[in-house]
Amino acid sequence: MSPARILASAKKKEIDILGICDHNSSENSLAVMKAARNTNVNVIPGMEVTSKEEVHILALFGDMESALKLQEHVYRNLPGKNDPEAFGMQVIVNEKEEVLGFNEKLLIGATTIPLEEVLQLIHRLDGVSIASHIDRESFSIIGQLGFIPDNLELDALEISPRITFEEAERRYANSYPITCSSDAHYPEDIGKGFTSFWLRDGTLTEIRKAIKNEDGRKLIH
């Protein structure tokens, strides 16, 4: 998943806006953003946070600085050390694909941060929060908690490519706006799932408006 390979795949799949949401880390977002500078792909820095209850939440940010602020908090509340043999090497690269180092934290692990707090943190940093792959059993809010609790500061739900928007609307009864993404862990999976938006540009501000159906911006299902 080097920046070049990611962007090549995004270009091939005609992806215009690409979120980089590594498990519990945003360290590789900037490299992809820089590598994308002379392309038509707008890269959005983010993270997939694992709450204490092992619920996965996607966080998307308007700038790298906000992503790093969440990262700092996540790192402070993420126990464990990575075992490269069990979970693979967690490499950190720059936009030229030069290896800067290895992340020693157990990124595949869970933070000690409860779900509600994860969502509050994301909003406080002006981010957008999306509950990951809710149609799947593992690490999804419904899989882990049995249901979506009331009064969550959650912006949207994400379905995996395994179900359609129609099926999602039937199952989740318009409780939250629904997005779809690939959850790609390999370059060839990029674009397997995607969301279409009606936007003025590819910034997070526009995406947030589309999710909220504001000012004519919207999700296209």
Binding site: E54, G80, F87, E137
Partner: protein, 113 residues
Amino acid sequence: MKVKEIIDSLELKAFSGQKNLDVPVTGGYTSDLLSDVIANSKAGQLWVTLQTHQNIVAVAKLKDLAGIIIVNNREPDEDTLMKAEEEGVPLLGSSAMAFEVSGKLYALLTTRD
């Protein structure tokens, strides 16, 4: 007690890892939260869970667990099976619920020495 004897006593199904059934079992750990198993399980324990995704194999390998018993008649995902074969992790199955499997396993391991 070895994994093989427990399979026989509890009438478990063996999905994979048949070459490592001679491994001695030191105890058991019952949990469905991977972060909990990573933090609190000990080497040689048999892990009782309803999780079927491939990360369970990585966790079992990481913590040197004797094997995994998947409950409620659930079956491991395809990639979980493949990974378990690759890593030689015994993946076992029970039609019973975790409460029952844990109770019986506990009894088996504590009445013997």
